[in-house]
Symmetry: C2
Subunit: 704 residues, 2 copies
């Protein structure tokens, strides 16, 4: 009784505070307003340059098996505003310093009847808004289960969206461009087949979601700092054009197990009337904690080749033998098996890639299919599928390490888990130690297929927790991680910069699985890349996959110039030259750009951008005065008009322009390119043609 | 087409083989008959001394998402019979050598239409039958999912059963004695509350199930060698009195993920017309593989005391502080917390137990509640609940280790997982290494509460796999395991003798939680102990729990003499003296038996036995000529008539008889006992009274 009485007193004392609270961004571009509805439901709205971009939207969480959800009956007991301004230096990045400048409003809410408190924290930047739920330590809110998060994003109109269907298990879809009202009708067509997938709603979409209003405002919805929480999708109420958070469930259908004190990830809304500012935004990183790795000297950008595309296209195989219907690690004797003759990761072939890497200045060679288990690795819900330690008989771990080392090249480890997450965790320490012992400092991990423990999803809290565990443990071993099929990144590479790459979207491999839309790469930087770099594996020169494997009729929907531009437009500290040495040797002049292009930058200038249509960016290679420009183009042929004012005044540069030939076309004439050299200064201008699905790449080297 | 034609040929060629196949046990006590029904359904029946004990019963497995289950349409393509006879020496046990003698029939079956083969292997001993399913390597049966195993045990009448309700999460029930036809009506009453439980059927029961026929034949149904398979329950068709296997499902409801080549555990039927032979049977161990641990010198029986009963009764606590509504490892600063003053695992108290152990010849002291996390360890589905490394501020790991070592005593580690299995596996290597570093060679592990990953059950394949993982990894670190709340044992201690104990039944702790039936310990050796030793934690001398904790009104339904007898009747290489030093010091004469009794044996003679009523056993202490006798009695007062013919001829012994006083009673007068010494030879006879819930214990020491 005593406690109850005290709680009532608090409610009374502060009930007059429950009026609207305004928050302005530092330069005043944005105004966010928080208020409580009559029934005590928290809401917010957002204005950009005096225009509403998010209408009044509800906030809260529905709880499971709790006397009351955290949805309404709230009163404001405290509000705190503050300003933050710092500049930090990323270990790697598009730029060498990032300003983190925001005004903050923290609203403490008390719930009538339960005496529970939550804090909703808003950070308003000049590129957008982040907010999250915080659950302070308290007696009446300790452990709770989230049935659903109910964060709304109420749209102001029937915007154009670039979306992929909501899915608990895959992000590997082509983007659909449509009005919000058209999503329902198009969702089935957009939900193309994948090896592990689970949709949940005909109006469910994934983040980061790119939107454009009729009056030309670009809005990006995503999340930041997704750690030990379920990954958020958005479900559209297409009558009212309101998006609402839709978390990924666990095996029992629950959406989050929480223990106070803790908090949700940030929900992010990046807004601009200039599409280039969406690409340049660092808000997602800024909402993550600073690096928790103190000594980051071992984290280095990597340009690499790999024994990979030949397996993806079906020219060679990951597996070593065709002798057995199934294999069992430690039981099946591979030394006695008959080799299938198609195994890609054999000593001779790996040495060929090492030689090629060394000859062309690459840092590393990725080798997939090196370890026992690939004969039946997929689709069987197999628990003990790999041990991450035992090579096939034709892969000499120590010998190849020595050979690579003698050539100044690293080998990149590959840990395919086949979704068998417990098995990976059981072997993780030994596997990382094996890497330390054998000179590997980076791992590509993979989560192809349905997750084990069975019933869990790729993006549920339990598995999100695993990806994080793998990153943090890798850091203990000074190992860089490039996780494929893991949850989409949300800027945690700021906190753990050893996460140098992720897939988490439809990568180049789909060009060998039937092809991706020709404008795919003009969308990805607006969506997938908002959360962090993608191991997109560009650099395909042979677009007719039947040249690799007669049985594979897939076509790469891209020109060679477009492939070159990707090294600049698809920012990543980890860049692959994905095609084979043979194919590169056929086009040595074009390949020169891949050899030259940097993988780490001090400055980036987005010159032109329109999602789905084109992106042009110029980047300055870190520690040099050299610049690299990339342009990727959508379906429509187009001419860029760019000026070189970003160059240093008074300096002269040699620009080498790798461009589509006039008759180039991603489908009919993808290998038609031109290369020309010109001298440029910061006064130069250039009109440059890009073909459908094409683009151009320019290296700009200071003349000394 | 070629393959199909070949398959048809095989079927035709062997179809005449499909008649009944008989198998006899070595001495001819048993006859098992295998046959196929007209529709190709495999069946078996079992006769004991020419009487049918299992009527014709179907065998097979229902598969999920498969074109056809493995239930019928089989033809016999091969039968193989063989004989096996070996004698092996267990590392620890009731006896120092075990004969493993059986006749075997392996029936290879081919399924029409699918061309899949399975083998049903029968091993017929002179104490019963074991059979299992084997899935050889083959093209058409590689990976498959079990929807349900369909192994029947068709009873010949409405037998008396000693049963506990089927449950996916707990085995901690009192036994109900009833006719089979009465199970349905009694099941709700039998399903008493537990912290984690999930029943599945009103006629579902657990193994090992003890049955008695109207004509005095004892039948025990259980399983052997449960490894990487779901734990079996039995569901009764109570119209036809047919038991059928009912496996424990995973989070998705599936009951087994299989990869050929592999096999099921053994299904066991132990039968005798003499109840003592059921207790003496070693069939369950014999169906397990020989030890996989080559050097077993570090595995030693243990008699121990522990900082435990005081927490169980509520006299002290596992937790260190009451300051926080929740705690977070690595965040909560326990050094700054206010101690609650009730923490049991404090240095002074632990030293008291070490002193007591040293003074009374115990090998070790178990200490629970030593590590951070007990403030909110239970009932929250908490993932990171313990790290198994970090002691509370008042527990000095190194200091206590040195102190214990100086007294010749070990400390037993405690790893409570709170069911958070992933968390335990993540910390397991470090936790075992910590044990190695700090002089611990045995661990009591616990799985209290619902399992994480959520949706899994205590006995599903995924978690059975974990228990095995923990045992095998412990063996790598030369650590002995005593797992509580883990799956019931099935004889795997033969293969991994470092598994020196399990709980997996209703232990002594329930005497402080409201009490167990007074005849509970006359049932357990017929049921729970069939699969391996139980850490029953006997030796309670103070039956009025309110003497420990005024708020706890529980009563221990047992006499002191009964408690002493348990050290002999409840065979285990791990025996606790569970009461407190204070309580033992009040009864030093009775305590003498606990000090004297052995924990490892060369011979065991079951003198009298009737489930639910009484058990009397004599055991010879390994490496000596001393014997110890134990008798436990049920509800009815009774007098044993035993002779000492098991003693060596011509030798004289001093027998000290610890017995119930005439007016002793488990409820009204539990502490009334008498002690007398007599001289015995192998010609001696003794009539010895046992009170309700009582018994007696005799030490028989050779006079030299």
């Amino acid at each position: 009784m005593k406690n109850l009485f005290f709680a009532s007193l608090i409610l009374f004392a502060f009930s007059t505070v429950a009026k609207a609270q305004q928050l302005k961004s530092p330069e005043g571009k944005f105004v966010m307003e928080f208020s409580l509805q009559n029934d005590g439901t928290p809401t917010y709205n957002l204005k950009y340059k005096n225009k509403e971009v998010v209408k009044t939207s509800k906030l809260g969480l529905e709880l499971k098996d709790d006397k009351k959800s955290l949805l309404n009956d709230f009163t404001v007991v405290d509000t705190k505003t503050s300003t933050f301004d710092e500049t930090w230096k990323p270990v790697w990045g598009e730029v060498d310093h990032i300003r983190n400048h925001y005004n903050e409003l923290a609203v403490t809410l008390n719930q009538k009847g339960t005496d529970r408190q939550i804090v909703i924290r808003f950070r308003l930047f000049d590129d957008g808004l982040g907010f999250r739920y915080e659950f302070p330590a308290q007696k009446n809110l300790t452990y709770f289960v989230i049935k659903e998060e109910r964060s709304q994003f109420a749209m102001t109109g029937d915007h154009t969206a670039f979306w992929i269907p909501g899915d608990y298990d895959t992000q590997e879809y082509d983007y659909t461009k449509s009005k919000l009202s058209e999503i329902r009708g198009l969702s089935q067509k957009a939900y193309t087949a994948n090896v592990s997938q689970r949709s949940f709603s005909p109006t469910g979409v994934q983040t980061s979601l790119m939107l454009k209003t009729a009056d030309g405002i670009y809005i990006n919805l995503h999340e930041a700092a997704l750690i030990d929480y379920s990954c958020m999708h958005l479900n559209l109420d297409d009558k009212n054009l309101v998006f609402e958070s839709w978390l990924t469930p666990d095996a029992k259908g629950d959406k989050g197990h929480m223990q106070a004190p803790n908090h949700s990830p940030w929900r992010t809304i990046i807004v601009s009337d200039d599409a280039r500012e969406i690409l340049a935004s660092k808000m997602t990183y800024n909402l993550n904690d600073p690096s928790k790795i103190e000594n980051t000297s071992w984290i280095k950008p990597v340009k690499y080749v790999g024994v990979w595309w030949e397996m993806i296209t079906g020219k060679s195989t990951w597996s070593y033998t065709n002798d057995y219907p199934t294999v069992q690690l430690g039981v099946t004797d591979f030394a006695k098996a008959k080799p299938n003759g198609t195994h890609g990761a054999n000593n001779a072939n790996v040495k060929k890639y090492i030689d090629f890497a060394a000859a062309n200045g690459f840092d590393a060679v990725l080798v997939e299919g090196w370890n026992e288990g690939w004969e039946d690795w997929f689709g069987h819900s197999k628990d003990y599928v790999f041990d991450f330690l035992t090579p096939y008989p034709d892969f000499d771990v120590k010998g190849l390490h020595e050979y690579a080392k003698s050539k100044g090249v690293k080998i990149i480890m590959h840990h395919e888990t086949s979704g068998s997450v417990r098995n990976y965790e059981r072997h993780m320490d030994a596997a990382y130690k094996f890497m330390n012992d054998n000179g590997y400092d980076a791992v590509k991990s993979g989560y192809v297929g349905d997750i084990l423990p069975r019933g869990e999803n790729h993006y549920s809290q339990w598995i999100v927790n695993h990806y994080q565990y793998a990153i943090e443990k890798a850091a203990d071993y000074k190992i860089m991680v490039n996780a494929h099929e893991a949850v989409r990144p949300t800027g945690i590479a700021r906190t753990y910069p050893n996460l140098i790459g992720n897939e988490a979207a439809r990568g180049t491999e789909y060009q060998a699985f039937g092809g991706s839309k020709s404008n795919h790469v003009t969308v990805l930087p607006f969506t997938r890349l908002i959360g962090g770099p993608m191991d997109y594996t560009p650099g395909i020169f042979e677009m007719d996959i039947s040249k690799m494997n007669p049985d594979n009729k897939s076509h790469v929907n891209s020109t060679i110039a477009n492939q070159l531009a990707l090294y600049v437009t698809m920012y990543s500290p980890l860049q692959m030259a994905a095609d084979t040495p043979e194919n590169y040797n056929r086009f040595p002049d074009a390949f020169q750009f891949i050899k030259d292009v940097a993988v780490d930058w001090s400055e980036s200038k987005y010159i032109e951008a329109e999602p789905g249509d084109f992106i042009t960016v110029a980047r300055k290679a870190k520690g040099t005065n050299n610049w690299f420009v990339g342009n990727v183009n959508g379906e429509t042929p187009r001419t860029s008009n760019i000026d070189f004012s970003f160059l240093e005044k008074g300096k002269k540069y040699t620009a080498t322009i790798y461009a589509d030939a006039k008759d180039a076309h991603y489908k009919t004439n993808p290998q038609a390119y031109t290369i020309k050299k010109i001298v440029v200064t910061n006064k130069s201008k250039l009109s440059q043609f890009s073909a459908p699905g094409g683009g151009y790449a320019i290296s700009i080297i200071e003349t000394k």
